[in-house]
């Protein structure tokens, strides 16, 4: 087969921009080997498990898994086991339990859900396996149930999106929200952050519509099409991920709008979306950086060396706007 | 005191008034015949009596008390036991489970006592002449055997009333005798019996009273003895006696002219594991060959094998000298073989389709060009056969599922004839159809033979077989054990051949045992 179309989003993740720690400096609570009562191991010869939550079918997940794999290779870790829960939470639980049974000594988990990890933690504690959760935080006690969390602050992302939206609309106008999958913590937090911030800084911006686009381009497009008919005077669209934003762009084109008529702000920072800014269809994108590999293994190394690591490692996410989109599009994932 | 009675009952189905102000009373210890043409409303009346249908109008009284059975279960609990038309058992369940469904013997813990159930089932069935492993799935039994199981099931309970809707339609003379023995016994115990049958001989043998339905109305009720047979028929059909007398009661005329010596159908060495063990058969154009034998002799299997519906381990089938290559139903139909299946409901009609579509089904390729059907051609053919077979339907577009049994049978015949076959294989062509329709079908068989078709006829009605066939091939356990020709084609001849084969087989078995 001959390929012509360029893979729009999700090209093979390049080195890209690594993650930068935003907080988690020694001033916050920390956790060390002694505190947890675990034993020291050599990471290079250790068995490491990584549990991915959703299939690697969107740029974020592709980049995330790839980053873990790349970094493990770089660190010389040979025994890396990967599982993928295919968006089934109970499968993720048994995946992780099975990895603990098979004797992994470090677990990196990208949780599908923030609650429901009791049985896993019980098992991990019994076997003294530290768990680093990445990208989504688990509602449990760090340094007891799990070691630490590395990831973005989703609520903060929502707030920053709100700032961008308010700025784009000049603090007034009606806005539609394309929600992620219902029940998903990411959806909940990105919605909460956005709404709270809008209420605070731009009370004249009215949220007139919020429907789920299931984090997918097609649903995002369908919902936007309906929304544009029912709310022809919509001024802005806040999409909780880039895929839905790109779906909204197709819907806008279909409705005869031109670039910039409706301000779109979204979250993630995939290459397709950043390109959208360059093309003028998107206003701005708040990044959610998926390249957890380096930071995760750095943290683990420190931990096993007996050094204290922060219990909450929040990375600083960048943002893409008209100003930097063109130059940074190559760095997007 | 009247045991069971209905007064002024009416029941309407969409478009049809099946029962119209019907009154009927059953006394204790009487065998009450319920007769009428196909579609007269007999089964409907029975279903109203036993809670399957709710009457639109009128009242049901049981032992003097007004009752309203919501479900068949209520009726059964009250002591009314019923054998419904068309065997109504569960084919996937074991014979014993069918027999005891809803009244399984239970142990101290209240759990079903399987072992006792199987033992008792075997005992009961042996008495009814069904000797089989009761753990077998019921569906693997022949229809007649299933009917005996249904009978045993109905009689097993302590019933006050036993209702039998065409219990003999798939039974052999021998089984019919068994059934009559049972009925006489119930009679002696003062149990009331409602008996529905299209076989008039049977009625006169065992019934005391008769109620005749026509078009949903009662046209006569009274003692059976006083009613002349010809008058019974005329009341059923609603024609005057002279007319009925003129037409006669069976439709067969007797001899057929055999045309040409070349067989139109030749089957040789048909073998199928467990069922057929080398059956040979030849039929010449214009000849009607009967297949005789007891239940499970393999007659249906022989027809199915010829019609391509039963896989064969060995054997050849030739139509007009040309061997069939593809042994499938499709191939057989193409070669000119038309099979009327024994089980009309399961293998014959397509109930959801109209009369018209059912008739045209097998000939569609011939009535179409480039895959497009020609409505005009279909209309012509459908009209021709509806007239010729006198199919009674409100229109060609009526659903076949809503027709009465006899008319469904005629629709099937029409489907077969529309293919202009060379060979007709008829498995119980008159099962469950009324005297009028039966005569029509029989006359039709004669007529078709006269047109040069080769016909193979299977019928559990010995009389029909004898009168209709020129030659009878007798089967037993999947083997041809004799052929009756000319004057030998008689009931006695048939029974003699079967009996001889039985004793031969029995003695062979004893010899084998001894050695």
């Amino acid at each position: 087969a001959k390929e012509e179309e360029s893979p729009g989003a999700g090209a093979a993740p390049s080195a890209g921009a690594g993650q930068v720690v935003q907080s988690g400096a020694p001033d916050g609570p920390t956790c060390s080997l002694d505190q947890m009562g675990y034993t020291k191991i050599d990471l290079k010869t250790a068995k490491v498990g990584f549990s991915q939550s959703e299939k690697e079918a969107n740029p974020f997940r592709i980049a995330e898994t790839q980053s873990i794999k790349d970094e493990a290779a770089k660190q010389g870790i040979t025994q890396l086991t990967l599982t993928n829960a295919n968006s089934q939470f109970t499968k993720q639980i048994s995946d992780v339990e099975q990895m603990i049974d098979s004797g992994v000594q470090l677990l990196v988990v990208a949780p599908l859900n923030s609650d429901g990890w009791d049985s896993v933690f019980a098992k991990a504690k019994a076997k003294k396996v530290p768990i680093i959760t990445i990208d989504r935080k688990i509602n449990a006690t760090p340094c007891t149930d799990y070691l630490t969390f590395i990831g973005s602050d989703f609520e903060e992302q929502g707030k920053r999106a709100a700032d961008k939206m308010a700025e784009a609309l000049g603090n007034k106008g009606s806005v539609a929200i394309l929600l992620g999958s219902p029940g998903n913590n990411v959806t909940t937090l990105r919605t909460k952050g956005f709404k709270d911030q809008i209420a605070k800084i731009a009370p004249d911006v009215k949220i007139v519509f919020e429907q789920t686009g299931q984090f997918s381009r097609e649903e995002g497009q369908k919902v936007s099409e309906q929304m544009l008919q029912a709310n022809p005077d919509i001024a802005g669209i806040y999409a909780e991920n880039d895929e839905m934003a790109l779906g909204a762009v197709t819907a806008l084109k279909g409705a005869g709008k031109s670039a910039g008529d409706v301000k779109i702000v979204s979250i993630d920072g995939t290459r397709g979306a950043v390109q959208g800014i360059v093309d003028g269809w998107l206003h701005s994108v708040i990044e959610s950086n998926p390249r957890f590999g380096p930071l995760a293994f750095e943290t683990a190394t420190k931990f096993f060396n007996g050094e204290p690591v922060a219990q909450d490692i929040i990375i600083s996410d960048r943002e893409y706007t008209e100003a930097n989109a063109k130059t940074d599009v190559a760095n997007a994932y | 005191m009247t045991l069971l009675e209905v007064a002024g009952v009416s029941k309407t189905f969409p478009g049809v008034r099946a029962l119209d102000d019907v009154s009927f009373a059953l006394q204790p210890g009487e065998v009450h015949a319920l007769v009428g043409e196909n579609g007269a409303g007999k089964s409907t009346l029975i279903k109203v009596l036993t809670g399957v249908y709710q009457p639109d109008d009128g009242a049901v009284r049981y032992r003097g008390e007004p009752v309203s059975f919501g479900t068949p279960l209520d009726a059964q609990r009250a002591g009314i036991s019923t054998i419904y038309q068309e065997v109504n058992l569960v084919p996937l369940m074991s014979v014993a489970r069918n027999l005891f469904l809803g009244r399984e013997p239970r142990n101290a813990l209240g759990l079903v006592d399987e072992r006792r159930m199987n033992r008792e089932a075997a005992d009961v069935l042996t008495r009814y002449g069904v000797r089989t492993d009761v753990r077998r799935q019921l569906g693997t039994l022949a229809l007649g055997a299933q009917q005996m199981v249904a009978l045993a099931r109905a009689v097993m309970v302590d019933a006050k009333v036993v209702i039998m809707d065409e219990p003999t339609s798939s039974l052999e003379p021998r089984e019919v005798e068994t059934l009559f023995g049972v009925i006489r016994d119930l009679h002696a115990q003062g149990i009331g019996i409602v008996y529905v049958s299209h076989r008039l001989d049977e009625l006169y043998q065992i019934c005391d009273r008769v109620t005749i339905l026509r078009d949903g109305r009662v046209v006569h009720t009274g003692p059976l003895e006083e009613l002349e047979r010809i008058r019974l028929v005329s009341l059923m059909l609603g024609r005057d006696m002279a007319e009925v007398r003129r037409e006669g009661v069976t439709g067969f005329t007797g001899e057929h002219e055999v045309q040409g010596a070349q067989p139109v159908l030749r089957a040789a060495g048909l073998r199928n594991r467990h069922k057929l063990h080398g059956v040979d058969l030849a039929v010449r154009p214009g000849e009607v060959v009967g297949l005789g034998g007891l239940l499970g002799a393999g007659r249906s299997e022989t027809l199915k094998a010829i019609g391509g519906a039963l896989p064969l381990d060995e054997g050849t089938v030739e139509v007009a000298g040309a061997p069939l290559r593809r042994r499938t139903s499709v191939g057989a139909v193409k070669a000119g073989i038309a099979l009327l299946p024994e089980d009309r409901k399961a293998e014959g009609i397509v109930p959801s389709l109209s009369v018209r579509e059912n008739i045209a089904l097998a000939v569609l390729p011939r009535l179409s060009r480039l895959g497009l059907v020609s409505e005009k051609k279909i209309d012509t053919i459908v009209e021709r056969f509806m007239t010729r077979l006198r199919i009674k339907a409100s229109s060609p577009h009526q659903r076949v599922g809503d027709l009465s049994g006899g008319n469904q049978q005629k629709v099937l015949l029409a489907r077969l004839l529309a293919t202009a076959p060379k060979v007709l294989l008829l498995d119980e062509p008159t099962r469950g159809i009324d005297v009028g329709a039966k005569a029509e079908v029989q006359a039709l068989v004669d007529e078709l033979a006269a047109e040069g078709l080769g016909v193979v006829l299977v019928s559990s009605d010995a009389e029909e077989l004898i009168e209709g066939a020129d030659r009878v091939v007798v089967l037993r356990d999947g083997v041809v054990v004799g052929t009756l020709d000319g004057a030998d084609v008689s009931t006695e001849g048939l029974l003699r051949t079967i009996a001889a084969a039985s004793s031969a087989a029995a003695s062979a078995a004893t010899q084998e045992e001894a050695s």
Partner: protein
């Protein structure tokens, strides 16, 4: 048999409702929207509804045929994904070639379904369930799990262009509806498939080539699903094997059943199916436009399905 000529009005309504209940429901919903939904009667809005319903209609057509044979096809969503996955791989050879490959994928999956059902004798729901799982996996393998944007002008035009004011998508769906209606009504194939659904052993004995007809029916269903997959790609201007067609089997089955085709086979209502799809589209659109939260929307949908199917159910007298 006495014909009962006189029927009460209630009886007449009851006889009529099963066939036309779904149309009544559509009218009710339309009236509601005209009264309470902003901008509803605008052509741009009606156009959106038609565009969105087109893929469901196309898939449902195949599903209706399969259901007519007393079968079911759960694999349609995965077939859409598979078709979508092949498009970007072969676009280099031209639009026509790419679409052809996509359709061949549909034919292939349909043939496997058909062979499993007709020749091996698997129950349709299991055979197609296996392909529902495997087909989606295969689509992801083919596409390397990547969403690929489509910028081919031909495909983009197919997805967003119009002819005489009506989008191509709608024209295509309409043409397919007419074809299938014609096939069901006028062809030997159509009658045979109904006979198989009505009573398979009987059809077999009547010389209907049951195996061949069944395989064809599943192939048709697979092909139609592939068409829907191609159109979905053209419309969203991206090939997304992981999301396209997810759960469309349930929408399609619902459309078929709400449209008055019984799941027990032997009857196919083509226009009813179209109406069923339209009804469900209107329900969803109404709820989105009125910004109902998904919890309420799902419960309302449940009730509407029940009411519509209740009205359209086969009545058996007791």
């Amino acid at each position: 048999m006495t014909d009962v000529a006189v029927r009460t009005p209630a009886q007449r309504v009851r006889a009529w409702l099963p066939a036309y209940g779904v149309y009544v429901a559509i009218v009710v919903l339309l009236l509601f929207n005209i009264a309470f939904t902003e901008n509803f009667l605008a052509w741009s809005n009606l156009r959106i509804q038609l565009i969105q319903v087109a893929p469901v209609v196309i898939v449902a057509l195949g599903m209706a045929l399969v259901i007519g044979t007393e079968g079911i096809d759960l694999s349609v969503g995965s077939v859409m994904a598979l078709a979508a996955a092949f498009i970007p791989l072969y676009l280099g050879y031209g639009v026509v070639a790419a679409i052809l490959v996509a359709l061949i994928a549909g034919v292939a999956v349909g043939a496997v379904n058909g062979l499993l059902v007709a020749r091996v004798g698997l129950q349709p729901i299991v055979a197609t369930l296996a392909l529902l799982v495997a087909g989606r996996g295969l689509a992801l393998v083919v596409s390397d799990s990547q969403l690929r944007e489509i910028r081919n002008p031909g495909l983009v035009e197919l997805g967003s262009g119009s002819l005489f004011g009506l989008p191509y998508l709608v024209w295509i769906a309409l043409a397919l509806v007419l074809t299938v209606a014609f096939v069901v009504r006028r062809t030997v194939f159509g009658r045979r498939l109904l006979a198989i659904g009505g009573n398979r052993p009987a059809a077999e004995l009547a010389g209907v080539p049951v195996g061949r007809v069944l395989v064809t029916v599943y192939v048709v269903s697979g092909t139609l699903a592939a068409v829907a997959g191609v159109l979905a790609v053209a419309r969203i201007q991206a090939s997304d094997a992981s999301a396209v067609g997810v759960l469309i089997e349930l929408s399609a089955i619902t459309a078929v059943v709400v449209g008055g085709t019984p799941l027990s086979g032997g009857r196919v209502r083509v226009w009813g199916t179209v109406a069923g799809a339209l009804l469900m589209q209107l329900v969803v659109a109404t709820m989105i436009k009125h910004d109902l939260p998904s919890s309420t929307a799902e419960m309302v949908q449940a009730v509407i399905i029940l009411v519509a199917v209740y009205a359209a159910r086969e009545r058996r007298s007791r």
